[in-house]
């Protein structure tokens, strides 16, 4: 699959690794790929971010990601769904933080392995890369570009697509910004 990646797409993957190293994260996640995409310049996804106004709101995107991380990766949709059945996620997170310290829910289980240099992609991040292949195939494109990775991120339910959607980056909007009006 990786032999089909364009230079831009490869830069996203290596950028995600760098991002994970910079933040001492034990695994490479969808978040790291999004941050790498936001860093890319002169690419189709950079153009899409600019036209959607997301590039100017990078701080807000990062805050949204941090907020979700604090809730242990619970998305806004998760939080809303739980509120429907009477569960207040924010209250639970606060309670956990009182006992176990700030950010305890988002701490992940592998912090102790921060010294290892070899980091793996999370299963979810691998699925995103697989999805980017499907997105490319679905569009009849022979190569997988950074744009396909971005579109894959918006297509998969989770924190990253939630935060992107909150900033106007829904699947449809991103698809239009990347490739113009469909069909």
């Amino acid at each position: 699959m990786f032999e089909r990646f364009t230079k831009g797409a490869r830069a996203v993957v290596t950028g995600a690794v760098t991002e994970a190293e910079r933040t001492a994260s034990p695994r490479i996640t969808d978040e790291h790929m999004l941050l790498a995409l936001l860093d890319s310049q002169g690419t189709r996804s950079a153009f899409a971010f600019a036209s959607l106004g997301i590039l100017d709101r990078r701080a807000s995107v990062e805050a949204g990601l941090a907020d979700a991380r604090r809730r242990g990766g619970m998305t806004q949709a998760d939080t809303a769904a739980l509120a429907e059945i009477g569960i207040d996620v924010e209250r639970i997170v606060s309670k956990v933080e009182q006992t176990h310290g700030e950010g305890a829910m988002g701490a992940g289980g592998t912090a102790k392995r921060g010294w290892t240099s070899h980091r793996k992609f999370t299963p979810a991040a691998k699925k995103t890369l697989e999805q980017s292949l499907r997105v490319a195939l679905g569009r009849g494109d022979k190569e997988i570009s950074d744009g396909h990775i971005l579109l894959a991120l918006t297509a998969r339910p989770g924190v990253v697509s939630d935060v992107l959607a909150d900033h106007g980056g829904t699947y449809g909007a991103v698809e239009r910004a990347l490739f113009g009006e469909p069909g």
Partner: protein, 69 residues
């Protein structure tokens, strides 16, 4: 407007999607809480056996899930 709020607005209370989504979210919340508690117990020197007994699962199950971290 996000797809999630779209969905919430379209979906009535009897829409199975609302309930199923809550269950899926609850599962994710459970996983997070379990990880926090297991980590805390390990930090306090609890054995896998003790943790497993409290969670009502086998020692192997806990160890397989959290042991290599």
């Amino acid at each position: 407007m996000t797809d999630a709020t779209d969905l919430a607005e379209r979906a009535g209370d009897r829409d199975p999607r609302v309930g199923l989504r809550a269950v899926a979210a609850l599962r994710r919340l459970l996983e997070q809480l379990e990880a926090v508690q297991v980590r805390s117990a390990r930090n306090q020197g609890w054995s896998w056996q003790e943790i497993a007994a409290q969670l009502g699962v086998s020692r192997q199950a806990v160890h397989k899930k959290y042991g290599r971290q």
